[in-house]
Point group: C2
Chain length 480, copies 2
């Protein structure tokens, strides 16, 4: 690095308006972590550009002086992807927050990265359109962060993740070049650098404009709640709904501890004696929804549900979902701390993985509540712990790692929608072989050879992996 | 290159069974071109491996001796992506043609690259499932070629291109390393090298296993035929259907010359006095289809259709589509030669682009028939010409280039589903700025630094682009 901190700040102040450079510790403090608050780091300085040109100037300065840059949206990410670098610039895109264009014939919205996810649907609503991916943080999270983490949500079973719903993007490279990627058509020539950038956690470039696909708002949505006296039966029912030829808009599962916590918190009318519930939503035309709901009720009853209830009206539908959406904070009320994992498994392995997660929970003496996107096999085990008990955070992280490795073992992945960030970088050594990790590193070199963009995230170094393999629990696990 | 042709052939024979190396000219002849038959080149030698290990051995040999490799599926591609290299190995994946697994709960099929597109749907049919992307060559074309070109089809408006329907892939690098990319879940950690590989025209690696998503076969499909006395009105109707909140499964347009040719050929019952017809198909549950068809008929009538006809039964639906699918060969009957272009435009620019294409057709004195995926703005102008007339092929290619540049000018792209290959490599210089082309080249370097995989395709060199800018018609066009 060729600039010390005062010189860097002076250089930024020369490029940006006064309100776009945060220097004081109390001004930097809100940026010290994202949603993964177990990891904290004060950034060297925070830059808050108002325009693409200002963002470009920050990147060019950092490139010239080899200073690390971590881009940040709303900071709601759960894998520490926006954790600052101790000697780097934290580049907040929050002020690039204009909706540039809604095209109701092309079915697209073009927005700056700091636009909130829900704000896109609000702006599209007068045209009867909406943006489908709906992370639970959608009130707060921004499309730039969604792009960085390839975010999903309750409805991605039917509508896909961010990568399936973005058609074009402008990406600033670390050298400050503006790449126009994708197109408003379905296809674009050349290598698909747009898809490559989505989910790359700010390590290849910084998105400064995003064009998303909009969909017609469905005529009707309806949700069915089914209760089961056995978690395995609920897991099997998930596969049976899909095998019946129905792709629900959302298909969520909660287990006993999660049901209890949610019900105590928001009184959603959940059956608190159930071992598991499924929430299955279908959307479409009026008649289509009625047909699908009838078929789903049959499948659920045949799968051994002890109770099957359709929401009687829109208010009850909202209430069913309120319980699901409040499940994480609800669990937060009954435990000093909780740690939300994120892995995927093939749908048909659900019953087995839930059983083995319960065994791991007992082995570590740490309760696990399950609240997750069952339809697409995206698990979110919540590990309940107390960070004030010596060693409990470390054991929690180890248990989380074991659960992710279980996902890999059955043919799944270590992330469904939260990304790798700093949190799962060691599990990348389990997910991938050296060939694939080397190819990731080669692609990184093609964009950012000085490794200035979000260093230390996403892709482990060979040393990370060799160290990981010597951890004590790895041996006990391998010999088990 | 460190091996002459006899030594290369001897080395291949040492690695592969006798029937896997084609040396004689008459055996190599069928491989001299793909569907873009205006370009022909005999390969040095053809390798036809039976297994992934044999394919890997070919790549390793070529890498060691720096010999170019062009991978090939069924050879139905239309942009010359599989045109052989004069001093290279043509690597046919046709014998890697096993269906490895159908997973009706996970909704996936795992197949080798030489499996035909339609064979996947046939294998999935007993489970009530199918593979959605349906290029018109789907009887013959293979999934490996579909992956290389990111193929589409009539139904990609609703169901997306190949990239939206593939979830995992095994890719051999030129060094013979096997990369496992993607996952059977929606998301996968690490950079999205799978999406990057799709549409990369065999320039980053060779797909040797592909896992595609399967969908439930819709309960019902129905098609409406609408006739218009004006091409512009038909173009406007396309946007109005979409703006009415309906995403049809397919929305195709044919203009007068295409209607006449198709009707003469297959007697589909098309109104031959129409200036344009639209074919609009919806699929889903029985009721949903009825509701959508009724709404679409209203929109078409309000848009000025002179006739709106729903197919009376499955036989008539098949007949309507038969005319569309036979349109290319039908045009082939009325002209000594035809050249099929492939570009995209924003849907709302359709009427304007059709008008300007007609003007260009008059300027060049070459008839153009239009048959295309109107719903997703993917044009397929067919230029009618006679290759035996001196200079007419060159003028046809120039007209084709002008049409593609028109697509770029209105915010579209130079390919919708056929790829760049050798055909459109010069138009890449119009589509992209040097920054983006440089980034493509850097990504290529990250996979294939010796540039052995399909050299000369897809991404132009800086020299390509500087030469292109000096072409005479470029000047007249720029000054127009």
């Amino acid at each position: 690095m060729s600039l010390d901190r005062p010189a860097l700040i002076a250089a930024l102040r020369a490029l940006l308006p006064a309100d776009a450079v945060l220097e004081a510790e109390e001004a930097r403090r809100p940026y010290e972590c994202d949603g993964l608050s177990a990891y904290r780091q004060l950034p060297y300085v925070v830059a808050l550009p108002h325009t693409v040109d200002e963002a470009r100037a920050v990147l060019q300065l950092c490139h010239r002086h080899q200073i690390p840059v971590v881009a940040r949206g709303a900071g709601t990410g759960l894998s520490g992807g926006a954790l600052p670098h101790a000697e780097g610039v934290l580049l907040s895109l929050a002020r690039l927050n204009r909706i540039l264009r809604i095209d109701p014939v092309g079915l697209t919205a073009t927005v700056e990265p700091g636009v909130r996810n829900l704000a896109i649907s609000e702006a599209a609503a007068p045209h009867g359109l909406y943006y489908a991916p709906d992370p639970s943080s959608q009130i707060a999270c921004t499309i730039g962060g969604n792009v960085a983490e390839n975010s999903g949500g309750v409805h991605c079973l039917k509508y896909g993740l961010t990568v399936h719903n973005v058609c074009a993007m402008k990406l600033l490279t670390i050298e400050g070049e503006l790449l126009e990627l994708g197109s408003r058509a379905l296809d674009a020539p050349g290598y698909d650098l747009m898809a490559l950038a989505i989910g790359s956690e700010g390590m290849l470039g910084v998105a400064v404009e995003v064009t998303v696909r909009l969909l017609p708002v469905p005529e009707r949505a309806q949700v069915v709640l089914a209760a089961f006296d056995d978690v395995g039966k609920a897991g099997s029912a998930v596969g049976e709904i899909i095998a019946a030829g129905i792709i629900p808009a959302g298909l969520e599962m909660m287990d006993g501890p999660a049901i209890q916590a949610a019900e105590d918190f928001v009184h959603a009318g959940y059956p608190t004696d159930a071992a598991a519930i499924l929430l299955c939503e279908v959307d479409g035309t009026n008649q289509e929804v009625s047909e699908h709901i009838a078929r789903i009720r049959e499948v659920l009853e045949a799968a051994g549900a002890t109770e099957v209830r359709s929401a009687r009206d829109e208010a009850e539908r909202a209430l069913f979902w309120k319980g699901r959406k409040a499940a994480f904070p609800a669990v937060g009320r009954i435990s000093p701390d909780y740690y939300c994992m994120d892995g995927t498994i093939p749908r048909r392995r659900l019953p087995e993985v839930l059983k083995r997660t319960a065994e791991l929970s007992r082995e570590y003496g740490l309760p696990v509540a399950n609240v997750f996107h069952a339809g697409d096999g995206n698990l979110h085990p919540l590990i309940l712990f107390d960070a004030n008990k010596p060693g409990e955070l470390a054991r929690t992280e180890e248990l989380g790692g074991r659960i992710l490795e279980l996902c890999v073992e059955v043919g799944g992945t270590i992330t469904g929608e939260h990304g790798v960030g700093i949190e799962k970088i060691r599990q990348m050594c389990v997910q991938f072989r050296p060939e694939e990790l080397n190819q990731f590193r080669a692609v990184k070199q093609a964009f950012d050879p000085l490794e200035l963009l979000n260093p230390g995230k996403g892709v482990p170094t060979p040393r990370h992996c060799s160290e990981y393999r010597t951890l004590p629990h790895k041996h006990s696990h391998e010999h088990a």
